[in-house]
Amino acid sequence: MSFLKAQKPFAARYLTLSVALSAANGLLIIAQAWLFAAIVAAVVVEKRDLSGVATWLAALPPLFLARAGLAWAAEYFAFQAAARVKSELRARLVSHVMKLGPVGLAGEATGRIVSAVTDAVQMIEPYFMRYLTAVPLVAILPLAILVAVLPHDWLSATVFAVTAPLIPLFMILIGAGAERMNQRQWRKLARMSGHLLDVIQGLTTLKIFNASRSEAARVAQMAEAYRRDTMTVLRLAFLSSLVLEFFATVSIAVVAVLTGFRLMWGDMVFFDGLFVLMLAPEFYMPLRNMGTAYHARMEAVGAAERVVEILDMPVPGSPSGTRKLDGGRGCAVRFDGVSLIFPDGRRALDGVSFDIAAGERVALVGPSGSGKSTIFNLLLGFVAPSAGLVAIDGVPFGELALDDWRRRIAYLPQRPHLFEATAAQNIAMRLDGADVDREAVRQAARQAQADDFITALPRGYDTPIGEHGAGLSGGEAQRLALARAFYRDASFVLLDEATAHLDADNESLIGRAVDQLSRGRTLLAIAHRLDTVRAADRIIVLDHGRVVETGSHQDLLARGGTYAQLWSHSREGRIEP
């Protein structure tokens, strides 16, 4: 709630404008009621004909046009208010997600982020467009009407003045109850409304277990239960609009009847009576609008929570220095007593120390959760250590200019991501559609053993790939990612070997390309394969966030420690799942 309010400044100017225009429109309503009453009174009481009221009548059309114009502009500026907030929120969400990086975002389902950026931001719109524009008018318009009515008819003014505060009072009482009930029901309702989609996604599983037909009955049952539960909430929620409707309608009836009798008894002038009757429905209109907008508010609050959840995710620290490394291939890496504890208390690394010389090939080995990926994330600058020192070529990591450092890295993840762009753009990593150096891209692809299959794609290097484009096999995706690494000519290679077994062809192709890539560069690999481990100059064995052993393959086997144990679990040259 407070989050939504905090967004108000972005929209303040447009909100004020919209409310001011609506208020002006409200004043014109009073003028219109006055003209209408004057015309009818003149015709009915003074028996004037059309020419007798022509001046007043002639004033009406321009008045109507002015009102329509004001209504249009008020609506437009209300949208502008919401648009500012939407644009601002999306920008903040996007930049926060970027700041979080893969480590800060870990564990968050992609779908939740997507729905926050698109749907949730969209659902906040009515709060600014409807609710915030309706609230100030509740204070302004009824007061203006009251002031207009009072000199003509103090009794009706009293009816208005007494009922007006009662309406919000009752609405708040009932609304609070409904909201409490709503929140209690929310999880249940969310589960029920998501049931159909859940079942459709699990249809294959249901079929495998011969449960798909009987599930049809459950779909109906769930929908039925959803109906019953929602109706229980709605019966109460609708009460607030019943109260509003009751006071507004009954007050109009009371004003009409009281006015009628005073007219008959001669206690009142006809013009005054009609003028007041015309304004009676208008008096309650702003309240009614707010009642409708109140629902929009409840929805927006729910949506805002989803946005806040993401904006509140803590950004993991990352270096922000300015020092650039000297040129040249290969760089030395030093970890000195590095520990990393996540905000949730998880200890990912516990006093890790090691040195990697420039040009050395080192393999990281250890069971899952032993800290291998954390070491990668530290080197990639996605997270900063809680204690200890990481240094590159003797420069403390915190002093490095991150952009410059990253430009020196070639990173090959287990499952490289292919972007929604052409093959060439994916290799050059120019996703914004800028021109890429064709020859360099091809050269890199050749070195990565990827030229053949890319050329065979329907549009060669211009074929769109990614989820919505040509589907590439796991091995092809790996080779394309390798081409990226060749293209940027990095000095430090971080390789996270794929655990999924590739076919023999792909494996040897990739092996050859990695071999070439690591020539003259520093290589740090999370290794799963015997070839990689054997080719390494040194193996660092991790367990529970600590370095437990280092040495060559033969040394470590001879020692009979963790590495030897891991090794004994393996078959066919695989040392870890």
Binding site: V40, R187, K207, V257, G260, M264, G273, L274, L431, D503
Partner: protein, 553 residues
């Protein structure tokens, strides 16, 4: 248009609720019109009586005013309850219908809809159709009925007023919104298209976040997402401007109706055709009756989207089932050899064949391991055995009977399967397990979970077997979800056990323990173990290696 007719057919079951809801809504609006019009008539008549010093019957109109106020208030509340009741009942019908239509399609016929993006679209489409009655059909019906009633009442007093009123109703309720719709078509289309693109780019960015940072593209990507969002908002602004026109238009038309009624009625009063109190009444009626038209512009704006949703859902629901059951099915043998003879499979639209010339025989009680790299076509064997797909060439038999001669539901009873994409439902762990066997006792569940090495984990949860998992529940790791899937498969008592990568995402120790326990507990079953990991193969009778869709020896 055909979509609307088809949608209306769903209404037939609940036509009484629908009729009641519309009747109540008409009554509530009509009561409001009558309340204001009668009040106008009443005070004018009373005022004239007071001036003339004559008495008049004020009981009837005063009682009518009170009556209309009550009908208005109660009718509004009842109408909202009933219309929502009707909506939720229609929802149940629609959901059940849709489920029953797509059930036969899974999984082959839904292949194209597998990505999450399309599932979300199905959900949005269904949500939109559910509002068809509440936001579109009911307001349109009510507007039509009320405006006809008003025009008829006006006709009783003055034909010209009735006709102008009719014209203004048509202008504000049909012509203006239709024009807005037309001019808004292009921006609407762009919004749909760009929103889909925004969705796609956000997915792309989140999944490729590491690469974006490493290749210095994060800022540029953030900027292009912002630009795309602002492009969408710019089109929304165009639409908002247009929709504001049609909303302001309703107000303008209402005022004009009042103005024209005065213009036409004032001379009639002078001529004595219309009594003075009727002047007030007619003018107010002309003005207030536009309450029925107010929701129409928004309703009409939602029409194209609703129709598009309907079209998409009907297209999915009308797709022919990819695998048909035989007309004269042969009973499925209790036990028998599962035999693949020269089987080939090419998925529709695929570049290459998934399987080529596969020969395989799984006899009762035998154990075969199918090995090979991922993507080699191993899992396609499972889809074929369960008759989710039909081979492009070759023959598959069970107990000597060709699969396409048996009812596939019955056939599947012979198989207990851990598939690669086993779904965990948003339900408790126990409910998820009982999908395999609704009659399983708590002890059965625990036995299966012990074998699958997941019992300890489950009892460590605060709610134990009643812990919610799935989309809105406890997040399970890949390995935990697999173990649950294995436990589920064990609960189904079938002669053939198919395990497709059952230990994916588990550490070596758990993997060993799980496979050992499963093989021991189900020593009498035929087992088809599909894996790329050479673990515990000593318990297998035969090992088949598949690469690039072919058996290699």
């Amino acid at each position: 248009m055909t979509e609307i007719i088809r949608l209306l057919k769903f209404f037939r079951v609940y036509r009484r609720w629908i009729a009641l809801s519309i009747a109540l809504s008409v009554a509530a609006i009509a009561a409001n019109i009558a309340l204001i019009a009668t009040s106008g008539w009443f005070i004018t008549a009373m005022g004239l009586a007071g001036l003339a010093g004559v008495a008049m019957n004020y009981f009837t109109p005063a009682a009518m005013i009170r009556g209309f106020a009550i009908v208005r208030t109660g009718g509004r509340y009842a109408e909202r309850l009933i219309s929502h009741e009707a909506t939720f009942r229609l929802l149940a019908v629609l959901r059940t219908w849709f489920y029953e239509r797509i059930e036969p399609l899974a999984p082959a016929g839904l292949q194209a809809f597998r990505s999450g993006d399309l599932f979300t679209r199905i959900r949005n489409d269904i949500d939109r159709l559910e509002l068809f009655f509440l936001r579109l059909f009911a307001p349109a019906a009510v507007a039509l009925l009320v405006s006809l009633m008003v025009v008829m009442v006006l006709w009783l007093y003055d034909g010209r007023i009735a006709l102008t009123q009719f014209g203004l109703f048509a202008l504000a309720g049909v012509l203006l919104p239709a024009a807005v719709l037309r001019f808004g078509a292009a921006p609407s289309e762009r919004i749909t298209e760009r929103t889909a693109r925004l969705n796609m780019l956000v997915v792309d960015s989140v999944e490729g976040l590491a690469e974006l940072h490493l290749y210095g593209q994060a800022q540029a990507r953030a900027a292009s997402l912002r630009a795309l969002s602002d492009d969408i908002i710019a089109d929304e602004r165009r639409l908002a401007r247009l929709s504001a026109i049609s909303q302001a238009g309703v107000g303008l038309a209402a005022n004009l109706a009042m103005f024209l009624a005065l213009l036409l009625a004032v001379p009639a009063v002078a001529l004595g055709h219309i009594a003075p109190p009727e002047l007030t009444m007619l003018a107010l009626m002309a003005l207030v009756s536009f309450e029925a038209i107010t929701p129409i512009p928004l309703a009409i704006q939602s029409l194209p989207g609703t129709l598009a949703s309907a079209r998409r859902l009907f297209a999915i629901a009308d797709a022919p089932p990819p695998v048909r059951d035989p007309l004269e099915p042969v009973p499925v043998p209790q036990q028998g050899d599962l035999v693949f003879e020269g089987v080939c499979l090419t998925y529709p639209g695929a570049r290459e064949a998934a399987l080529t010339d596969i020969d395989l025989r799984l006899a009762p009680g035998r154990r075969i391991a199918v090995m090979g790299p991922s993507g080699a076509g191993k899992s396609s064997l499972v889809g074929l055995a369960l008759r989710f797909w039909e081979p492009s060439r070759g023959r598959i038999t069970y107990g000597g009977v060709a699969l396409d001669r048996m009812p596939s539901d019955e056939l599947r009873r012979r198989f207990s399967v851990v598939s690669q994409h086993d779904h965990l439902f948003t339900a408790t762990i126990a409910d998820n397990l009982r999908v395999a066997n609704p009659g399983a006792s708590d002890a059965d569940l625990e036995d299966a979970c012990r074998i699958a090495q997941i019992h300890e984990f489950i009892v460590a949860q605060p709610d134990g077997y009643r812990t919610y998992v799935g989309m809105n529940g406890l997040k399970l790791s890949g390995g935990q979800a697999r173990r649950l899937a294995v436990a589920r498969a064990l609960l189904k008592d079938a002669p053939v056990l198919v395990l497709d990568e059952p230990t994916e995402g588990m550490d070596g120790e758990t993997e060993q323990a799980l496979l050992a326990a499963v093989m021991k507990a189900r020593s009498d079953r035929a087992v088809l173990l599909i894996t790329h990991r050479p673990v515990r193969l000593e318990t297998m009778n035969e090992i088949v290696r598949i690469e690039n869709g072919r058996v290699v020896r």
